[in-house]
Symmetry: C2
């Protein structure tokens, strides 16, 4: 059984997240539907990171054990045709060694968060950005980010439903950039806790709006209590960008 690595782009808007759920449309169900049609039998998928409802992907990675060998290019092309008109595209298919695991082999994950920082709501980027009306103070947000970078107990920055055994994670980078009307945050780490990026973004947004001093982020982290952390930024601004192996 050859193993393939698939790199996916998708619009998370119409999906109840990555993971298959009864009676709800999910990215996994759509992809497994296309795989079942392509191979004329069920094929299971394993992803690098289970995105939540409404979260987008520019480079989600999945591995599958295929019932037969096919040209990787033909697999990508065939799946893309079968996925239409759904907003999911296979960017690349590659044959990988049998010990490649989309989740366990990942060395680093990259996320991006887009804030549209202007008074008017988005027309073209509705469901693609978080619209914050008040001008954000980027310097204050950068100061706040410094408190989060490194190895910490991120209990205050994970969902109460997070199933990770340990709340200790190492955040490699957290950057904030203004690009026209947008404020773009990027976060990189080997792995993240559930909702960690969205809570970090929501908390930094409170700092950017002047509702929190930057130092309160350090206090929130030290409290190791989700109630001490800031708000959870909306799913629609989040993009799972890339996985390094």
């Amino acid at each position: 059984m050859p193993r393939y690595k698939l790199t996916l782009e998708y619009d998370g808007t119409p999906y109840a997240g990555w993971q298959t759920q009864a009676h709800l449309p999910t990215v996994q169900a759509a992809l497994e539907g296309a795989l079942a049609a392509f191979y004329a039998q069920p094929v299971a998928t394993f992803c690098a990171g289970r995105t939540d409802a409404g979260v987008h992907a520019l480079g989600q990675v999945v591995h599958v054990d295929a019932p037969e060998a096919r040209e990787p290019y033909a697999i990508a092309k065939g799946l893309n045709a079968l996925l239409l008109p759904q907003p999911i595209a296979v960017l690349k298919a590659e044959e990988v060694p049998a010990d490649f695991d989309a989740r366990l082999s990942a060395r680093r994950r990259h996320y991006r968060y887009r804030i549209l920082n202007r008074p008017a709501r988005p027309a073209l980027d509705a469901m693609r950005v978080w619209n914050i009306h008040r001008p954000l103070d980027i310097s204050a947000m950068e100061e706040a980010a410094q408190h989060l970078i490194g190895r910490h107990d991120f209990t205050s920055f994970r969902s109460s439903e997070c199933q990770s055994a340990s709340p200790v994670k190492t955040l490699d980078t957290l950057t904030i950039t203004r690009a026209g009307e947008e404020v773009i945050l990027t976060a990189s780490a080997k792995s993240f806790l559930h909702h960690q990026v969205r809570i970090m973004v929501g908390t930094m947004a409170l700092v950017g709006m002047g509702k929190w001093p930057a130092t309160r982020v350090a206090e929130a982290l030290a409290a190791r209590d989700r109630k001490a952390g800031g708000l959870t930024a909306p799913a629609c601004g989040l993009y799972f960008v890339q996985v390094e192996y």
Copy 2:
């Protein structure tokens, strides 16, 4: 009757273009519907450029003569609420002198065209870009663009249905930039003929794909015949970006 200038962003996908048509959804009909609800009477709109079906706008400009004076901020806010959930946003409302005319006062119009230059179809940017699979030769496209810049008879680059009295226009700038997987073209001029930007882009794409030598663009221009020009690029990649007054 105070006159207001409205700056609009919209997703052109669900509309049969700007201009009101019987039995079809249009941006003008949507905006005039919101204005009628806001002022409790009909208010006519006049735009800087009538975009075609599927063409997007980041900065379309409209003027209206309002039946009463209101705070510009309140007008924008009120119209935005009334336009929901349609993908049209009023970015700004400003009171302008009675001789301001969205179309006639325009000194310069700016368009952008987005090509997604990769084998895989777009998932997140479906209906936002033109997907060209073959890698484009940007240098050749830049060479082709040089033939189009300046004052020319653009008969070969206008729709056969174009109603402009003269085919002579001055193209101020035409640039091509690669940004990751995208190739972005920008065009600026006082005014454009019908389909001019899309035919210029379609023709340059033929050059970028190696189907035309760059010099054939000069020949096409000299022919003054639409049949000598290249293909019309799809509407979905085109953005009406800004109008200078």
